[in-house]
């Protein structure tokens, strides 16, 4: 059965997508119990280090980018006038 675009973008479908995505995220962390990641410098072998690093980097970089555009952002025609 082919799903229509409305079915794919409905709130229910989106909620289900979030459930599936959350499950995958959780699974990637749980898998580390069976497959320990490389422990080069001590803390990088801790359980959710990749997850924390991914999420933390995202937040920190977002904040940096946002601050940068706040301070140095100008209109597209800034150099034209």
């Amino acid at each position: 059965m082919k799903l229509s675009e409305q079915q794919l973008t409905s709130p229910t479908a989106q909620r289900n997508l979030w459930f599936v995505a959350s499950g995958i995220l959780l699974l990637s962390v749980i898998l580390q119990l069976a497959i320990p990641v490389d422990d080069y410098f001590g803390i990088d072998g801790w359980l959710p280090v990749g997850a924390l690093m991914g999420l933390g980097s995202c937040v920190v970089l977002f904040a940096g980018g946002w601050l940068l555009s706040l301070i140095l952002g100008r209109a597209e025609d800034y150099y034209d006038d």
Partner: protein, 563 residues
Amino acid sequence: MIEFFPPALAVLLAALASAFCSAAAVRGGIAIVGALCSLLLTWQVADGVIVTGSFLGYSLELVEGTALGRLFATLFALALIAGVVYALQSASRAELVAAQVYAAGAMGVAFAGDLITLFLFWEMMALASVALVWFGASEGARAAGIRYAVIHLVGALILKMGIEGIKHSTGSLDIRPFALDDLATGLLLAGILINAAAPPLSAWLPDAYPRATPTGSVFLSVFTTKTAVLALILLFPGESLLIALGLYMAFYGILYALREDHLRRILAYALVTQVGFMVCAVGVGGEAALNAAAAHAVTFTLAIALLFMAAGAVILRTGREHCSDLGGLYRSMPVTLWCTVIGALAIASVPLTGGFVSRSLIADATAGAEDLALVYTLLAIAAAGVFLQVGIRLPWLVFFSRDSGLRGEDAPGYMKVAMIALAAGCVVIGAAPQLLYPLLPYVVEQQPYRANNVLFQLQLMLFSGLGFFLLLPWLRPRKGIVLDVDWLWRRGLPEFADFVARVIGSRLGRAVERVLVAIDEVTSSAQKTMGHAGPLGRSWEIGTTALWIVLLLMVYVFAYYLF
């Protein structure tokens, strides 16, 4: 009599032939044949110097075979073929010729056996790339092309001064690793770093590349920065300064791209970021890291050229270039969508793409060394940032996000062929990296597809993706620009010069005015005294004159006796 036909010459001859050909398809065919011949010749280049010549008294080693040279020349030839196929329906004759000359310059650099040969081909690239920017044919492209030309002219001067300094101090022009221990090597490094878009002169790249035509951007994304990386591998392997510069470039590109709205400017920043990864790997040095830098040049070039092609197809079909004007294109451009997704995932180093292989090689080269713990961590953070910058944000904004209502056709046939070929390249290297390993300069001992490495990389990407969707309301692109170092010469210095001219001009003016007034007063006073009517100027009677003479003589006599 040439003992071997240089690969660059094959491309140059094809450029010459296509310059006189009016039919677009034949022109493209000639360019492809030229690139194929150069590819064939590249793999005939044996190790060692095989073509020599002389120029202005210099003995040149025009073609010197090395594994690294063959790898980069192969990459340049393949990129040229893909670019020409992509451009078959859209590039003008002059643009295609410029692209071929540009590629020939890059191939010449790849096989250069001495610093003068490297410099000559380097400048050939600079001239051709300026032309490609100018083919953008807008006022912005004209101005950006001039800025680009000036930056590269300055870079060329610095590079040439460094080469002459090295010639003077060592008596040799051989391409070999240098230590950064005197002014000449410092100038040589600075000249190369300008082409790598390293700080503080990174801004020329996001300024110029998005102004070219969509096809011009594809060619520009391939050659200049990659030849700079090649030169760094050959001349400054293990130079620790490059680690800091590379990391700066990686984060610079991510931070500037995060709220960028202009499609090709996002890609230009991604280009700087990835060149930063390569520069950092060169700085780490050692066989593993240099292998990683070369591998990343290959995988990344395929991915970024693919993304510039996809961006070009979107621009061609919608006429829009700002992400905030796009969105919802997955409905009408499915092939472009899938190619963009593959290119974006490859740049973000997702497993089963070429980017994952080369990024893992870079990470492995830094892993384990205590003094590189911070570098390893920062590279991992930057990798997560790249997923945010291009891996997920770009396809989301252009093809999903809100529906812009734009309904164009998918990319034209030739463009699709080129994009699919590059997407296949990204996936093939990702799935079978052992195809790439024999082409690298050293034996590869790492294995990227370790379960723990894949898991770590997946965690990094997946949770970065989670962060993206959580922060999505605040990650909307912002129309406009973010000021960069180029503000200094585009706005700061001209305004300062105006200010100085105004201040000095007004003060100088007032001083000159006072002097003129004083001169005027003196002359008018002299006029009153010594003019025809003045006491010293008019005719006196003889008696009056005699009286004055007697009086003056009396004054003199009294003075003589008294003093």
